[in-house]
Amino acid sequence: MSLIDLSGYLLYAAFISYLVGTFLFAGAIKVKNDTAAARADKYGKIALVVTIIGFVAQLGYFITRWMYTGHAPVSNMFEFTTAFGMFIVLSFIVIYITYKVAALGVVALPIALLIIAYASMFPTEVSPLVPSLQSHWLTIHVTTAALGQSIFGISAVAGLIYLLRNVNMNERSKESFWLETVMFCCVLVVGFVVATVTFNAMDYEAKYEYVDTLDQVSTSTYLMPAVFGMNEYVELSEDRMTPLFELPALIDARKLTTVFWSVLFGTIIYLLIRLITRRKIATMFQPLVKRVNSTLMDEIAYRSILIAFPIFTLGALIFAMIWAQEAWGRFWGWDPKEVWALITWLFYAAFLHLRLSKGWEGRKSAWLTVIGFLIILFNLVVVNLVIAGLHSYA
């Protein structure tokens, strides 16, 4: 068995451990009175052990892949996003050991699972490093930034639990609507995964020629049935679906098609869940968080941000500037990824000031932690895949 195969199996093992861990944490909640002072019971201990086993397996994936490729596996969308998931689990383990609140696991682990599943939809082959990435700063900058982001992620986990605990889902309100929307977005990620896996299993591939924004002819390969066609497309593959709409060159119809299928699959899955359980997804989580101490959740959310802020500043801004100075001779270049790192930083700076001076605690603060994490995900997904720049790797 080669290192790269071993690496793949270890990632599977980690994925399954996190899945099992989620259910064990859920089991730990039902039997105990979940307060800050209460010690985790047997279930909680087993859940923690399983999660740590999963983390060690994923660390094994990380190290073996590193040994195989010769560089830290954070150089493309699959590698970075997987590492991000790993750091979320690490941050969760540390916070759980400190605060012993099982509800954190019920939200944090599924988020890590979704992120790793999402990552696996991107090409997983090993590709050699282009000259600009050949630097030890790749390892230092990317891992520190990812660690900071994942601790911000834990604050969103605590924020979400706070909201699930305190928002009345039976009432029609803005809060209940948006909370359910957040849940729906999580299902959309599942939709993306299911759509990708389905069409992949069918070996679907269709090639088109099209005219791009600079009036040049290029080809595009669709891995999902083309609902939207590229500008002035010509079909190159036989027996494939003819696009229903043709879009102008400015819009990448192939990516839009992927979005379309993900939303379609996600919505169907969501509706099925609603039909079968006859409940909102947020409502299904509520029994699990019923006994959570709100004040403690609020504090965990705030403390996570306090822990993450210096790490994020160091990794995503300072180390980034040092590397940029070393590689391009300028520490700042207004590249979209840089700008969005700055936006993330400014957002959390605003959060800290709102909390310190305006006394924003509780719900307001919880919503901010969720919005902050959405900005981080935007920087990961949209900025990499849609907005072109120096950091587009997939």
């Binding site: 800050a36 600079l214 936006i343 605003a350 907005i387």
Partner: protein, 552 residues
Amino acid sequence: MNKLLCECGHENPEGTTLCQKCGSPLSAEEKSKKIADMRYEGSAIRSKTYNKSIIDKIWNFFSSVKVGITLIIINLIAASIGTILPQEFYISVATDAEKEKYYSDVYGWFGEIYYALGLSDLYSSLWFQLLVLMLGVSIIIASIDRGIPLHKSLKNQRVKRHTNFMKRQRIIGEGKPTETREQTLQLVEQSLKNLKYNVRREDSSILAERGRFSRYGAYINHVGLIVFLIGVMLHLVPGMYVDESMWLREGETRAVPGMDGYFLKNDKFILETYDNVPQGEQIKQGVNVVAKNFQTDVTLYKQKENSVPGQAENLEEVKQYGIQVNHPLKHEGYAFYQMDFRLNEIKTMVFDLTNKETEQSLGQISIDLTNPQEMYTLDNGAQVQLMGYYPDFSGFKEGVPQTATQTPNNPAFIFKMITPETPEGETSFVAIQQTLEPEGDNIYKMKFSNVETRHMSGLTIRYDRTIPILIVGGIIFMIGVAIGSYWNHRRIWVEQLADGTIRLAAHTNKNWFSMKKDLDALTKHAHLPQYVDQQEIENNEHVETEKDGKTL
């Protein structure tokens, strides 16, 4: 200025919310709160006291944290707008007209509006820089406005506090000690010292404090930010910042722009690629080879003193280096970066002066495209006059050949061939795969023989004297933000009343969870009555009443 007189007899400056001596609430608003507002220790803030002159008004505006947060959010939104479309400096066209055309061609009407509004160069726009400047001013003023009063009140803390202060803390406890009455305060003192608190005692009152320095974290990081922003602004000062670029062909030696007296020679440009078998994403994107290394081997020279500036003579070798991406050549604060390259630029073109009929050559001429001669004389006396040279031939305009650029991408020539048979000379226009004979059929032609090419490196030269300032700013910021985030200021007040009752109050600026752990240890060790968290009680009551309201 008016003074606020507290019940305890202490005179406080106007704007104070908690008496600086005993901690009693002073304002009506403060009195109505169940838990005291401990931000800035209730001290008077300049912006909340003066509001008269124009300076006061400006000061008040920028000192407001609300304004500060608004400025952060505005900066955030403005920065995000600049990422909707690529900024101008990422687009490889030169003139404004070309830029405008690019945005409208590629992005349609949206691109036109984006360009017209100046959003395509947002980060260099005056309004954006003003926004950043305003944020900087806000940071300075708000820090002074709040930092100084906070420092004063932290320095002048009394040990004994008023009942109203103690009872209005978030964590309170009151009751008889569960054991041994006499030693309680000693036990408290000892226990808190073990927990690494700074303990002060006056009569029957104790103030224990830990991590006070963390309160200064926010102000320290603001200082770091300001130093950093000053460093950034210094880029505009002449001489602080050099940003030049140069194209250097292999074998060429040229003066380094922005670095007087230095010359750089391009010894060789190296492009290496991986020999991996393309798979997956690489195939999908149609990339056949992945670059492994871009490198320019250079020699840096320095001109000896008393030489003619700009002339490549009297050179002394300084060092040889292979400039790679991520590995710039550094010398005396200057750094040379590998930024771009152009492969196989035509260096010389060789032609045969050939008789069209007999295919016999009268000899070869070799034209160095960087230094074309007007006249080339062959050994046998024949001559070729170079009447015109068009490095990047782009077609004819009114019968005259045109060149798009000065780069030899598509060289074209007008030759006059003077041979014994044609003493008057024959004119011929020669471009790649194209020959025109404007004066009718010629006897001779310039037959293309071969070409020599070479690579060209695009290098950037940077010199930044502000870097040390930026580093200092960054370090101060990181120290401040770490102090403010990873430490917290915990205080515990304990008082034993005449009847032996223990009254306790505790406050921390963050991390109540750990504060409670300290209190648990203290309570156990000194047999104190159980404390309560008033905010938790309040929250629970709030949730309960809300639920009742809904269900009933």
